[in-house]
């Protein structure tokens, strides 16, 4: 589904603080499967996730999504692909403070021009699916860690993406909530989603939901 060919990502090119985050990585992510990027801090997991999710462009190399080369696309098209194809669950949840859980779930779909009423209904269904429907009208800063995580998952799914990308999703969760999270991921996989996660948490890469673990160190595959 996603093919990565000899990709390099260099930050601050040509400056004294030049830093090679990804160095010649080639990889194939298969559809409807769960792939985990594993490795210590600074190994390049998050940068590789950004590249896979069309959030950043590689310095060199090629990335293809469904046989279509996407690295050379202009920002507008890349954003469109990102919005339609990927749902993101961030390490810090990255929910927007001051607005309700329901609004947070709806935000990614605002630029699509979908009718407000149907979007609201769909967002509500997602919150109910993850057992946080009762918290729909609550501001996100009032939610517990587990509730915030579920709202973040609902937000990632609001545009019905093919691929769900999660960066260190259990970093701020206790063991029970981490297992619960992996159960939800199992449900998503069963529903045909492709899952890509970056984590060094054993609960994640030892889970039965995971089909493949890609180990990284110093920006390279091990």
């Amino acid at each position: 589904m996603i093919q990565v060919r000899d990709v390099r990502k260099v930050f601050n090119t040509g400056r004294p603080n030049e830093f090679v985050a990804i160095d010649g990585v080639s990889l194939t992510i298969e559809a409807h499967r769960t792939t985990v990027l594993k490795g210590p801090s600074g190994s390049g997991k998050t940068t590789l996730l950004s590249l896979l999710g069309c959030m950043a462009r590689p310095t060199s190399g090629r990335i293809s999504l469904l046989e279509r080369e996407i690295t050379s696309l202009p920002e507008r098209f890349l954003t469109d692909i990102r919005r339609r194809s990927f749902g993101f669950i961030f390490q810090q949840f990255n929910l927007i403070k001051g607005i309700t859980a329901l609004e947070n779930v709806m935000v990614p779909a605002y630029p699509t021009g979908e009718r407000y009423s149907s979007l609201k209904r769909r967002a509500m269904e997602l919150l109910e699916l993850f057992n946080v429907g009762a918290k729909a009208a609550s501001k996100v800063e009032w939610l517990s860690g587990g509730e915030a995580q579920r709202v973040a998952i609902a937000r990632a799914l609001v545009n019905d993406p093919m691929v769900v990308i999660a960066d260190e999703p259990t970093a701020h969760l206790d063991t029970r909530l981490s297992r619960e999270f992996m159960e939800i991921m199992g449900t998503l996989k069963a529903n045909g989603k492709t899952l890509i996660m970056a984590s060094h948490d054993p609960i994640v890469h030892e889970s039965s939901v995971v089909d493949g673990v890609v180990e990284m160190r110093d920006g390279r595959l091990v």
Partner: protein, 377 residues
Amino acid sequence: MRWFEKQKNILDFTLSALWRRKGKNITLVSVYAFVVFLVASVVFLTGAVKGEAERVLVEAPDMMVQRLVAGRHDYIPLSYMKTIGDIRGVQNVKSRLWGYYFDQTNSANYTLMVNDELDIQPGSILIGSGVARNLLVKETGSLPFRTYDGSYVFMKIERVLDEALDLVAADLILLNGGDFRRIFLTPEGQATDLVLKVKNPREMPTIARKIVALLPDTRPILREEILRTYDAVFEWRGGLSILVLSGAFLAFLILAWDKATGLSAEERREIGILKGIGWETSDILQLKFWEGVAVSFTAFLAGLLLAYVHVFFTPAVLFEPAIKGWSVLYPRFQLTPHLSVYHVSTLFFLTVVPYTVSTILPSWRAASIDPDIVMRA
């Protein structure tokens, strides 16, 4: 349809975003509305006073003729009336007697005028309401006038003129021709000036030229010229007030610029999240556009409404002395409520447009940050 829904959704999010920072935004809107209020008050007041003056001048004579001696206004012989009346196109000619009287006791200037049509009895006067207010006199009182030779004559107040005439009649005292000549020693057979009615207004410049040719020591003044003078005087006063206010306006612009351009860490983080979850740079710019429109339009409407109430339903206390005042007798009158499309659109383009543009342009930089910043945060 999808475009419309998209704008509606983004506007909805904008309003919710503004409400989240309500303390900061309410302060900004209040300051903004106050600036609009100040500028709009001056513009409305200037326009309304000019309108009032124009309405009053509709009744004014088409043309006045004065006599000049050594470049100064002097009495005009009544014999000139015949010469002018014989010019083709002149409907009638009348003489007027008027002058200024300085009341030393009250340090005020009054306009004394003879009005033959009102048939004022010798020894009686009609006074403007400004004069009555200034002297604290009622209709039954009498007023002393110091004549040209230092002696005093006492005139009985017959009645006080209607306040509706205040713009032109606040400082007016109407009296009999004989009394006027007695106070100022105006020779018989002479008048202050002559007023003309002309059949065809387009002939006025020609008639004025003929008068000057026949009577070279005269100066004809057309009503149009008086209107232009009013325009110039009130525009000048309005302009001067705006100039004084420009300091406040500039201070506001600096505040707005700082607010609009200085994105907080929280706002930058939010832009990062929005880009990360699929918003394009243009979506963020639309968000900022609606934010600018919401703030500036609310402030504009609030400022406009406050200015409207201030000018037309209160005595425009802040600017009355600057725009309306002359001498010590301020005319007291209610201005007719009136909104001109020209004034409203000028204010709109001076306030809403610059603010909205100043929010959008710098937001471009913030909106074009890489979406992966949210992954690395």
